[in-house]
């Protein structure tokens, strides 16, 4: 077992000494079996670390979605009838197998996504395991309710599963975001057809290999392929009872549109442009808390900025801008960009060439708009086997909130920083965005923290912390950041419907006829 303070680089999947066994080709996981795509077409899955192929995965079509839906419909009645005791046992067994294979999954996800393995070891994989435990727990405490309408008439409320649900996963946390979606759905008694993100189709299949003996056939099905084909076939299907999606707004709107046309519910998480607000009192002492605040700003580079809640707008009180920014830039300069499987690496590779292009373009847009480049700003070409990887330097641009770099999610390690005079202006800037997913507030003044936190129009306000994602804290968007919440037992409501039995124990007729 590797430890984080030891010099160590994991061997990439499939190479000698790697914790990750690798096959040349993977199939879809449908009905508890590995099923080749109907048309027999596969595509390469690239590692962003090197730009080179890892393996082949199915390039599925609508036919494969139908096959997965067949398997799910076959499994749905038995799973819905499975006791919560047993469903909970299965969720806990998934958690155990994730934990027992933490290094294997962490290395697989890091190599496929490009994120540093220190993040997948410390965050993605342990959080995924805990997520299954959390929903394995709360489902056992779930209760219906009874209303006594009058002395002889009782209304019983039961939570019933929706049936077969569709779930579309983003590329930024391929395993953790799958856990966020799958755990509440199956805990509540649903069965699911999952469409992983196109740039990260494989690491979730490593998880399916582990859970194959644990989860009854057809309860979890995974179909890989293009969003425009597989995602659309799933989201528009008449055979699903609910669709969940994380991604960009136009596809989010399409998905909600299909749900509307099929008269089914949907939940969406569509990103943000999260403000991270630093009040002057953080500099009252150069202590542990101040150090934490510096890290709080630098967290924009966590997961290379490919996070829906990336704190990509830093709002700093003008009176402390110079000394605070100086310390932050020192910290940013120490970021170690490199091989994602080196445990010392703190910044890896962007997920795809397309994301790299987009980031490069947005930095140019920012500079053209008159923003000042404080650090970074370029693609980082690393030596040797990493030379064709998708690395971008940690970047900070100073400007003002009307600029496009402050208004649009770049999804890269690019921070847009600006200043504010007072609390009122901080709030005005923070809320001057279409989105409302996350926000950060840093202050030693608890009254101010509460006041500002309540006034920010966002679903999550991290207060004197950032980028914590514990199960039990609801997560989701205000405004254009989507509809619904994840990561909390209220998710069970998103995956169940209410059955009301209205029962009369009175033998007498109503007397109308």
């Amino acid at each position: 077992m590797a430890v984080l303070d030891k010099e160590f680089t994991y061997a990439p999947p499939g190479t000698s000494g790697s914790p990750v066994p690798l096959k040349e080709r993977y199939d879809n996981f449908i009905g508890g079996r590995w099923v080749a795509p109907a048309k027999g077409v596969y595509q390469l899955d690239l590692s962003p670390a090197t730009g080179k192929p890892i393996t082949e995965v199915p390039r599925s079509t609508g036919e494969d979605v139908e096959t997965a839906l067949d398997a799910a419909h076959k499994a749905k009645a038995a799973w819905a009838a499975t006791s919560t005791t047993e469903r909970s046992r299965v969720l806990n067994a998934i958690a155990d197998v994730i934990e027992a294979n933490k290094e294997m999954l962490a290395v697989a996800e890091s190599w496929e996504n490009g994120k540093p393995v220190r993040e997948t070891l410390a965050a993605d994989i342990p959080l995924a395991a805990d997520h299954f435990r959390y929903f394995g727990s709360v489902i056992r405490a779930e209760e219906g309710s009874i209303s006594e309408i009058d002395k002889d008439t009782i209304a019983y409320q039961f939570h019933e599963p929706l049936g077969v649900v569709g779930q579309i996963i983003p590329f930024n946390f391929p395993i953790l975001m799958a856990a966020w979606k799958i755990a509440p759905a199956i805990a509540a008694g649903n069965v699911t057809v999952v469409k992983p993100a196109s740039p990260t189709p494989w690491s979730i299949l490593k998880l399916m290999e582990l859970i194959e003996p644990i989860v009854p056939a057809g309860v979890i099905n995974v179909v890989n392929g293009p969003g425009a084909e597989v995602g659309m076939a799933l989201a528009s299907s008449k055979r699903i009872a609910k669709i969940a999606f994380t991604g960009e707004t136009a596809t989010g709107r399409m998905i909600m549109g299909y749900a509307a046309k099929n008269l089914i519910p949907s939940t969406t998480e569509l990103g943000g442009k999260s403000p991270n607000i630093f009040f002057e009192d953080i500099l009252a002492a150069d202590d542990e808390f101040f150090d934490k605040a510096i890290e709080g700003l630098v967290l924009y580079a966590f997961n290379k900025g490919e996070v829906c809640t990336c704190p990509s707008r830093a709002l700093i009180q003008a009176s402390i801008y110079q000394p605070f920014m100086e310390r932050c830039l020192e910290r940013i300069a120490k970021i170690k960009q490199g091989h994602p499987l080196d445990i010392h690496t703190t910044l890896g590779a962007q997920v795809s060439a397309a994301q790299l292009e987009k980031i490069t373009r947005y930095v140019k847009i920012g500079l053209d708009e008159g923003a000042e480049l404080l650090i970074g700003g370029h693609r980082n070409v690393l030596p040797g086997e990493l030379s064709e990887g998708y690395y971008f330097e940690p970047t900070v641009l100073k400007g003002q909130n009307k600029m496009r770099i402050f208004q649009e999610e770049i999804f890269g390690p690019v921070l847009a920083v600006t200043t504010f005079k007072d609390e009122a202006e901080a709030l005005e800037i923070a809320n001057d965005t279409m989105y409302g997913l996350g926000a950060g507030v840093w202050t030693r003044d608890a009254s101010r923290a509460f006041r500002v936190g309540r006034a920010i129009q966002a679903g999550r306000v991290w207060t004197n912390c950032y980028h914590l994602y514990p199960a039990g804290a609801p997560f989701g968007g205000y405004k254009a950041s989507g509809v619904g919440r994840e990561n909390h037992k209220m998710m069970l409501d998103h995956y169940t419907q209410t059955k009301n039995l209205l029962v009369s124990y009175d033998p007498k007729a109503l007397g109308f006829f």
Binding site: N172, A197, G227, T251, G272, A353, E357
Partner: protein, 106 residues
């Protein structure tokens, strides 16, 4: 006078017309937000992707281009110049089936 702030490169126009021949009338909807946000999404008009809050800012070949009016405003009513790049994005945009993705360029 109708606005025209949309242009497409010759390569993008070829891709658009090929998609139109295969899928029927198309529209573009500008995306924002997470993941592949900021990509122009090309979809069939019969899928009714356009809403009351969207504005038409021009067309790329036979495909009208729409953007949410607030997004357009916040981006400073820019020109939308569409190009096409290799590799599928992760959206519902139709060119993903042909291993391509539309992008905005300057």
């Amino acid at each position: 006078m109708e606005e025209d702030r949309v242009q497409a490169t010759p390569e993008a126009l070829v891709a658009i017309e090929r998609l139109a021949a295969e899928h029927g009338p198309l529209v573009f909807l500008q995306s924002g937000g997470c993941c592949d946000g900021s990509s122009p999404i090309c979809v069939r008009s019969i899928d009714l992707p356009i809403g009351p809050g969207d504005v038409r800012v021009g067309a790329a070949g036979s495909a009208a281009f729409f953007v949410d009016s607030e997004l357009d405003e916040r981006w400073g009513k820019p020109r939308y110049r569409i190009d096409v790049a290799p590799g599928a994005g992760d959206t519902f945009s139709l060119e993903g089936r042909d291993d391509l993705h539309f992008i905005l360029v300057d």
